[in-house]
Symmetry: C2
């Protein structure tokens, strides 16, 4: 029993292995004996104990040694031959196939993932509080929705998405966002970027975008072959008049809450962009990413209501519920529906049916409204805490964009952004600088700032995150001057980092 019947030095084609017990095969685990034998043989080949070319004992010997039926051994050999682990030649017995690779578990790891500096306080913008996902209400809605769904919900479905969700969204968006549409014009997608990707395939010509915006969105458009042209952003949002002469056939805006700088699009510009679309046959893509979160007054309705034939409205559950749901919706002009569906592909890539049915039930039952009311209170309290703490500890830092949404911009003195980001990382803070949001072709002078989300940290951790944030912010110019022991003009170029 101590003798190993396979010697890895043996040449392929060596003598047949001795008795089955010499194979050190231990039959165990789940399933039939045949199954257990197959598992054991695979494991022996895997580990390298049985090397390629090795001849296996005849059925009879192994069946005797293991105390199992001869047919069981024959079946197991035959199956492993079919799977390619063993090879059988007439008259030459059964051998370990030459291509079965020994591959232990240690070789089965994926690539090493980069290790990031440990984040203690996640203030990255764009994410809601994951701990606030309304699990209980969501589970209850899933139960009701799946129990009530017709059988065909689990078949190959309508590429626009489930009709229950499209009907519910039609009513909901009309009531809450002033969107005017019909279920036939809504296409469910897996989030804003998916919708934008589909539009990128349908639109022609360059797409105008706000000079400040997510580089990720620009990349989605550019991958779809659409060049992006930046429009200046000021306190009234994007300057619509700059559209003329750009050659843009479409413009992507965040009218309810410019991302990231934070203001709503000025009413005259809302009108102007609709006029532009009508006059030129252009399209406005309205990114309503956080339209439901406005704290100091009722939200401004969507621009879409002003002209449903020239405006594509895109919303999602990513901020209101969770980005992990992968659920968004495009409200399209009627004439665009078929083109978007063709780009989407009629057979694949639409969102899962269970979440679509659940969200329809969740909205229809009023649970969504209740959740949003609760989250508005939570986020407003955090917004107020942020503003109060900064007013107290860093009164020289202007905070903007906090009337709505889940993020704020802290405006920094010129050329202090990079140092502030380094200081933030030392405090274990994850947040963004403002500069990466600026379109590389924009003629705007880059502003320094920090873009931080107050949605992500759970409630109990928020105060500590603010504490760390204040430690990372640059000193006021006065203090800075004092610290350096000499008088300098307040607006000079200067590092914000502590020595």
């Amino acid at each position: 029993m101590q003798r190993s019947w396979v010697n890895s030095e043996e040449a392929p084609g060596s003598e047949p292995a001795g008795t089955g017990s010499d194979l050190h095969l231990e039959l165990r685990g789940e399933g039939s004996l045949r199954n257990q034998l197959m598992q054991a043989l695979r494991a022996a080949i895997d580990s390298g104990r049985l090397t390629p070319g090795t001849r296996l004992p005849p059925y009879r010997s192994l069946s005797v040694d293991l105390g199992i039926a001869r047919n069981t051994v024959a079946d197991a050999y035959a199956e492993l031959v079919e799977e390619g682990w063993l090879a059988a030649r007439q008259g030459a017995g059964t051998r370990v196939a030459r291509r079965a690779v020994p591959l232990g578990p240690e070789r089965l790891r994926g690539p090493a993932r980069p290790t990031h500096r440990r984040t203690v306080h996640d203030l990255m913008p764009t994410s809601p509080d994951a701990s606030a996902f309304p699990r209980t209400a969501w589970i209850a809605a899933t139960r009701r929705a799946l129990a009530a769904a017709p059988h065909d919900a689990f078949g190959v479905g309508d590429p626009r998405g489930r009709i229950e969700l499209r009907r519910t969204l039609t009513e909901y968006l009309a009531r809450v966002r002033g969107v005017r549409t019909a279920p036939d014009r809504i296409v469910v997608c897996s989030g804003f970027a998916h919708g934008l990707e589909l539009l990128g395939k349908v639109l022609t010509g360059p797409v105008a975008v706000e000079s400040y915006g997510l580089s990720f969105h620009r990349e989605v458009l550019e991958r779809a072959g659409r060049a992006t042209v930046p429009l200046t952003v000021d306190s009234g949002g994007a300057r619509i008049e700059e559209l003329t002469g750009t050659g843009a056939r479409a413009v992507l805006l965040t009218p309810a809450h410019q991302f990231p700088t934070g203001g709503p699009l000025h009413p005259e510009r809302r009108a102007a962009v609709v006029d532009w679309a009508r006059a030129t046959g252009g399209i406005l893509i309205e990114d309503d990413y956080d339209g439901e979160f406005r704290y100091d007054r009722r939200p401004v309705g969507a621009v879409q209501g002003l002209d449903p034939e020239r405006i594509v409205y895109i919303g999602s559950a990513s901020k209101s519920l969770s980005p992990a749901l992968r659920l968004g919706w495009m409200v399209l002009p009627g004439w665009m529906v078929d083109e978007v569906l063709e780009a989407k592909g009629t057979r694949e890539m639409w969102s899962g049916v269970t979440d679509q049915l659940t969200l329809a039930e969740f909205i229809g039952s009023g649970a969504y409204d209740r959740h949003l009311r609760r989250m508005r209170l939570v986020y407003r309290r955090r917004r107020d805490l942020l503003a109060a703490r900064l007013a107290e500890q860093a009164p020289h830092i202007r905070v903007s964009g906090v009337a709505a949404g889940l993020h704020a911009v802290l405006e920094l003195p010129k050329d202090t952004e990079e140092a502030a980001l380094r200081a933030a990382r030392r405090q274990g803070l994850a947040l963004d600088g403002l500069r990466p949001y600026l379109h590389p072709d924009s003629s705007m002078t880059p502003r320094d700032g920090l873009v931080l989300g107050y949605g992500t940290p759970p409630d109990h951790a928020f105060s500590a995150a603010l504490e760390a944030l204040c430690l990372a912010l640059p000193d006021p110019p006065q203090k800075e001057r004092e610290r350096k022991g000499r008088q300098e003009p307040p607006r000079r170029r200067g590092g914000a980092e502590s020595p």
Copy 2:
């Protein structure tokens, strides 16, 4: 009261409207009075009763007429100005903005959908029985999975998919399909086509495919810029030796059950394709679309186990549970993981978290095995019914590919496919011909046949579907000859359609 204060003939800039009651505004519905007033004004503009340019009554008059506070009217006007419905100019009062489009509900329909001839019996291949989706067990798994999930499950997640699902799949696929992998090497996707699309972006050079296969899959590859090269398919599957000289760097196969012709890949060819991949640095893409459904014996394990470094295994829940879940999984060589994730995009397009968590729980709890056992019995019974009915009523038609899966190929006499499809449509049957599955560049002689799925119809409708199918099949050559009242060689070219 009979006088309409707005006359649509009136030029913009006409006299201010009279009293509020003349506006025919009725305050009702949900929400605050301001909200109700805004809704009523929007509706009046929408319907065309209030035309662009029309001046609205001053706050005071309307507040008196409607019996509401003046501030409420002022707020409603201000909000509608912000939304772009109204325009306010200093000293000129508030008017209906020029761009508010009247757009009644009848104009808000989507495009007309093509109306198909009514399908009575859906025998399209590739879909399971939607009525057999295990709702109760799925709901229970959702409840357990969501209750147990950590908070971060609802945040921005790992682009590979939830770790719970990847761990469960690692064990499950090893046990049931002989797949050797690790959670780090699995990437969750929304189905086979999504996985193939991602691979299309990562691979270089042409991709060899089986001469018979889904044209849809060829299109996915071609859209990703990969030319496809057909391999001859015979009773042993694809002829691997033809890979040499094609320049292909990857080959897409359905080794467990060639789709649609139906056999497993011959063991020697399993070995040969692994040898090819090793010798050339090529990749085998293993489409294991119905590996769990084999009726007359234990399923053959996946080829992937033979060389996890050169084989990409793709499976999905589309056949086993429902195509509406949009859940699939790619098992990747370690060195490909990062490239696939880059193609996938680290921020978007992955599958929803609730179904991922639920499937992990569903598999882990044994509910998946139970469901598969039940469905194997259901589908095997249907397969047997199909075979028996055809043996009885159409013994001249050969049925192939029925040892596994959810579909069968009925082999037809030469040049009878089109007529048989027309006859099937007249019987209200939806099914496929075999010819569209043939790669356009294949040198194989096209075969005539019908590809039909027996998964889709619910149990109670299956017998009637078989009845209709038998009516649609071409007559046997003998009967055909008799019917035409003359003698012809049995293999002549002939229509299969009844007169």
